[in-house]
């Protein structure tokens, strides 16, 4: 594995009496794509702000390629590309003017601004709208431009703060395609989100935070293993199952756990080929009518649920 290009050690930040980040440490290797996952208010944005030098931590340090940022004009800032959670765009300037302005803050030449601006617009599929101001854009297009603006100075490390919040599925897919392209180009990506499936799609490793603390920091595969090799199987019945069925079902061969949710029965199974015939046979014996049966690879949701005690959705 590459040496870490981004290292976070013992970060802490309080706002008055509120502890936004209590103790966060992790590191990201060059070229790695890490998900920073946590529910709203977990301290993700605050952590990212400290990473980018926007706010000073109360304790701890951030090392970029082994060195701490020394001030506002530290050239190491050029290695970072921050995509803020808000749509940080000038609504009245054209897309091209936005790109050129933010690029110029990194002292790019006019030629560089022009060429890289065009390339960034091309990447996010907005080439045709270069002359239009963001106020005429859809939410998804604004999100894409928000991403493009961070790319002009060609940073090695991308700090993405919930870059898909509030966009339609199509734009979300487009943004993911862009990020996959960037990952393929060797960019290091720290992807902040409270959507589990985004981390699963993009990242190889996940850092789970809540209440300003790291709850888990592991490769995705390892977390899945924690969940066990087991698989999930959902049976949809015509009517809700009686409560006393649960214990009986749990005793069937290959079944580990059973949960009922309205007319659904959710099984965690050690071996699908053993469990499914047993379950269907038992249900048929007891007069239950199966309307649908599905199985899925293990989902990380239960891991996060057990780690955070919170739902990872918008709550």
């Amino acid at each position: 594995m590459n040496p870490p290009i981004l290292e976070v050690r013992g970060l802490r930040k309080t706002f008055g009496s509120l502890v936004a980040v209590e103790e966060v440490s992790f590191s990201v290797a060059a070229g790695e794509c890490v998900g920073l996952l946590g529910p709203n208010g977990a301290g993700k944005t605050t952590t990212l702000s400290m990473l980018a030098g926007l706010i000073r931590p109360d304790a701890g340090e951030v090392l970029i390629a082994g060195r701490a940022l020394t001030g506002d004009t530290d050239p190491a800032k050029r290695r970072l590309g921050l995509v803020p959670q808000d749509l940080a765009l000038y609504e009245d300037l054209s897309a091209a003017e936005n790109l050129a302005f933010f690029g110029a803050l990194y002292s790019l030449s006019r030629a560089e601004l022009r060429d890289r601006g065009a390339a960034a617009l091309d990447l996010v599929g907005l080439s045709g709208r270069a002359k239009d101001p963001p106020r005429t854009f859809s939410g998804g297009m604004k999100r894409r431009l928000n991403l493009a603006v961070a790319l002009l100075h060609d940073p090695e490390i991308l700090l993405l703060d919930e870059p898909t919040v509030g966009v339609d599925p199509q734009s979300r897919n487009a943004i993911f395609d862009n990020l996959e392209t960037l990952r393929a180009r060797g960019k290091t990506i720290l992807y902040t989100t409270h959507y589990l499936e985004e981390v699963e799609r993009l990242c190889s490793r996940v850092v789970i935070v809540d209440h300003g603390r790291v709850l888990a920091d592991a490769p995705l595969a390892e977390l899945r293993a924690r969940e066990g090799e087991g698989q999930r199987c959902t049976v949809e019945l015509a009517a809700p199952a009686p409560a006393d069925w649960i214990a009986a079902l749990r005793g069937l061969p290959g079944v580990r756990r059973v949960a009922a949710r309205e007319s659904q029965l959710i099984f965690e199974v050690a071996d699908l080929t053993v469990a499914v015939p047993a379950v269907t046979a038992w249900l048929a014996q007891h007069g239950a009518q199966i309307t649908q049966l599905s199985s899925a690879r293990p989902n990380l949701e239960s891991v996060f649920l057990s780690l955070t005690g919170r739902n990872l959705r918008d709550d």
Partner: protein, 440 residues
């Protein structure tokens, strides 16, 4: 491209794209300044001032009243009308159409002449005044007094009517009971002398009555002095004269440049609120560059606004810089710099844009009002004139007035410019200290 230039260019672009800001900094001050300018005197020497509307009802129809009427008509400051009767005149005053109405009673010429020698009842000249226009009716009263005295005096001491009065006077002296013999003798000698002198003028054929009048140098009696009205500013030597628009354009363009300063301050708060501040702070540029960019773009926009407003006033209302041009330009620069620093100050102390706007508008309106941008500060009560010396905008107006219609030299611009620049330093320094650099 240098980041500072990029920051300035971004602000200028945003300003040009922002129609509301453009209207607020250009169209509105020009419109309001034009209106205020026309209220405060407008362009003297170009458009004839409309004059104080006053009505005269002459119930006398004597040589004296005719003289008073013709003198009043000749007054540039009055617009005289002649209603048919007293009631109509009184009505017009009550309805606000006239500032005052004068009624010259019947037999005024005769009674006033006698009154001068202490004989008979003095006639009553009635003056109806609009209580809301005391300045104007005061002017009417002054002019009326001047012209009545002059007309009566001339009538009494000149020509045939003059001899009539002196003879009546002599007769009354003889008839008067209980007058000490010495007094009687002196008065008899004085009036007798006047009578004999008038008789001599008559026989020599010199028309004293014709050559008399308030300013006349001929024989006869008249007021012992003339008014010569001279403005205290250097307008006489210039082709263009005092112009009320000069003050209003200076005041209004400054007011709206300061108003724009609120928007510049709020723009920073909005950048903060909308996450743009994160991008700005994430870039490898110093705090000094960030604030300098904002200050420079604000000052440029402010200076441009002042230039356009003044340009308009010069082309349309013939406002001229009668004093020093370098002084004038410096004053404008200093006002622009002051406004820019005020914008930074607002950004430093403001929390949310919404909460900041109202308070900032209030403070700036007070600044502008006490600075004399609406009405000249010399109209203020004495204590306020003294107190407002600490207000930078007061000095700005002093500089503008000095360089435009007062026609003062460069030296008169130095103090206003220094006061404004010092105030800018204070505002900018506090902004630097209190600014929240962290993104939130």
């Amino acid at each position: 491209m240098h980041p500072l230039l990029a920051l300035i260019g971004k602000d200028l672009r945003l300003h040009v794209h922002n129609r509301r800001a453009l209207i607020l900094t250009l169209a509105v001050p020009i419109a309001i300044a034009s209106f205020f300018g026309s209220l405060f005197g407008g362009q003297s020497g170009r458009v004839k001032p409309s004059g104080v509307p006053v009505a005269v009802v002459d119930l006398d129809h004597s040589a004296v009243s005719a003289q008073v009427l013709s003198n009043l008509l000749a007054e540039a400051g009055l617009r005289v009308s002649f209603p048919t009767n007293e009631a109509a005149a009184q009505d017009a005053v009550r309805q606000g159409q006239l500032a005052a109405a004068v009624v010259i009673p019947a037999n005024f010429g005769r009674d006033a002449g006698r009154g001068l020698f202490g004989g008979g009842a003095k006639p009553d000249v009635v003056l109806y005044e609009d209580p809301g226009r005391q300045m104007e009716s005061g002017l009417v009263r002054g002019l009326l007094t001047q012209h009545i005295i002059s007309a009566v005096a001339r009538n009494v001491f000149n020509g045939a009517s003059g001899r009539q009065f002196t003879r009546e006077g002599l007769a009354r002296i003889e008839e008067a009971q209980g007058m000490p013999a010495g007094d009687r003798e002196l008065l008899r000698t004085m009036l007798g002398g006047v009578d004999r002198w008038l008789a001599r003028v008559e026989t020599n054929g010199t028309s004293a009555a014709g050559a008399g009048g308030p300013g006349g140098g001929g024989g006869g009696f008249s007021l012992p002095f003339n008014f010569r009205e001279e403005p205290a500013v250097r307008e006489a030597v210039h082709q263009f004269q005092y112009n009320g628009y000069a003050h209003s354009f200076g005041g209004m363009s400054m007011q709206f440049v300061l108003m724009a300063a609120i928007d510049w301050g709020l723009a920073i708060l909005l950048e903060r609120q909308r996450g743009l501040w994160r991008r700005l702070r994430a870039a490898p540029i110093s705090r000094g560059t960030l604030l300098a960019g904002r200050a420079a773009s604000s000052a440029l926009i402010g200076f441009g606004t002042l230039a356009v407003c003044w340009g308009f006033s010069m082309v349309v209302f013939h406002v001229r810089v009668l004093g020093s041009w370098p002084g004038f330009v410096l004053c404008n620069l200093a006002v622009a710099v002051f406004a820019a620093s005020l914008g930074l100050f607002i950004a430093a102390v403001g929390r949310t844009p919404e909460a900041t706007r109202g308070l900032a508008i209030f403070v700036i309106l007070i600044l502008v009002m006490l600075g004399g941008a609406w009405i000249p500060s010399f109209i203020f009560p004495e204590w306020l004139q003294q107190a407002s010396v600490v207000i930078p905008t007061r000095w700005a107006m002093e500089g503008f007035d000095g360089m435009t219609w007062r026609g003062l030299g460069f030296a008169a611009a130095v103090k206003p410019v220094l006061v404004l620049l010092f105030s800018s330093l204070v505002c900018g320094g506090l902004a630097w200290r209190w600014f929240r650099w962290e993104a939130d």
